[in-house]
Amino acid sequence: MTETPSFDHRPDPELGAALRAALEPKDDHSAFVARVMAGYDGALERASIATLDVLAAWFRPGMVAAAAALVLGFLFGRTILDRAAPESIDTAMAPIEGPGLAALVTSNDPPDASVVFTSLVEQR
């Protein structure tokens, strides 16, 4: 034992045997196996129940989240549909008042800044 350096990468058989003897259970090996096997069904059942518990715990928040998503989706969709889309580019470019954008883009003269500004403000 003492010849084996502590950093030896091999197990120390003497120390190992001494520790093994010190840790060896004294009672019947088969009794322990039987005891473990007695818990076999219970362990699997508990695991199954635990899985159901997890699912149950997630069920209510899941339903609330799904309902919230549905309501939000409905509101968003309705907002989109309520916006009347212009029928054509001409309609979109049509001035609300005054010469507007169409006049600006078709004119040969440089645009008047006040007209541009007014058009933009009017569009809003």
Partner: protein, 215 residues
């Protein structure tokens, strides 16, 4: 409920209804052909074969109980922890990677179960040395001396930090490699070497003191 099957499991060859019983306490190290048998037993357990799980317990019970006892000290607590470990392994069997050896995977679960139990009960059973033992009282025969040594070793082991205890038992008693222990304990291999070194230094001193009287 059956344990969930894992991916990568080898096809399960038919096994005889019962393996020949292992020696009391099981082998110190399960490898080679036995490791292959472990994989087959795992596959059969996953298929719902209760007896196959019984064979796994039979094979690894001794090792699991020793490792748990190294952590907990008390043999009853250790058996409780080893049992917890086996049943926990049964439930988690679907997570086991069949390409790796089963023993280290199981021992990791058992060691963790023992650590959990120790934390829960806040147990540190470092029992005071019997004055008769400390004083080197009368030693009627070699068996009595051996019992005293065992008691001293258990006490010395209990005084070591938990990780050191696990490392030296897994290495010197159960025969796992540094790399395997590193995987089990979730620490670097160099740390395992260091833990084994320090544990050996303490335990060898104790053992050397007791060698002469036992002759």
């Amino acid at each position: 409920m059956k344990p969930m099957p894992a991916e990568g499991l080898p096809p399960s060859p038919p096994l005889p209804p019962h393996h020949p019983p292992q020696p009391q306490g099981g082998p110190a190290r399960i490898g080679g052909k036995e490791a292959g048998d472990d994989q087959a037993l795992v596959a059969q357990t996953l298929a719902g074969n209760r007896a196959a799980f019984g064979d796994l317990v039979e094979r690894h019970a001794g090792q699991a109980r020793r490792v748990a006892r190294a952590v907990l000290g008390d043999p009853d607590d250790a058996d409780d922890a080893a049992q917890d470990g086996f049943l926990s392994a049964l439930v988690k069997l679907g997570q086991y990677d069949a390409r790796r050896p089963f023993g280290p995977w199981l021992m990791r679960i058992v060691a963790n179960a023992a650590t959990d139990r120790r934390r829960r009960r806040n147990v540190r059973r470092v029992e005071p040395l019997d004055t008769a033992l400390v004083g080197g009282g009368p030693r009627p025969d070699a068996a009595a001396v051996r019992n005293e040594l065992n008691e001293h070793l258990r006490v010395a082991l209990a005084e070591l930090p938990e990780r050191r205890r696990k490392a030296v038992v897994l290495f010197d008693v159960e025969g796992y490699s540094h790399a395997e222990i590193a995987g089990m304990l979730g620490i670097p291999e160099g740390t395992v070497r260091s833990e084994v070194f320090h544990a050996r230094r303490r335990l060898r001193t104790l053992l050397a003191d007791w060698k002469e009287p036992m002759r």
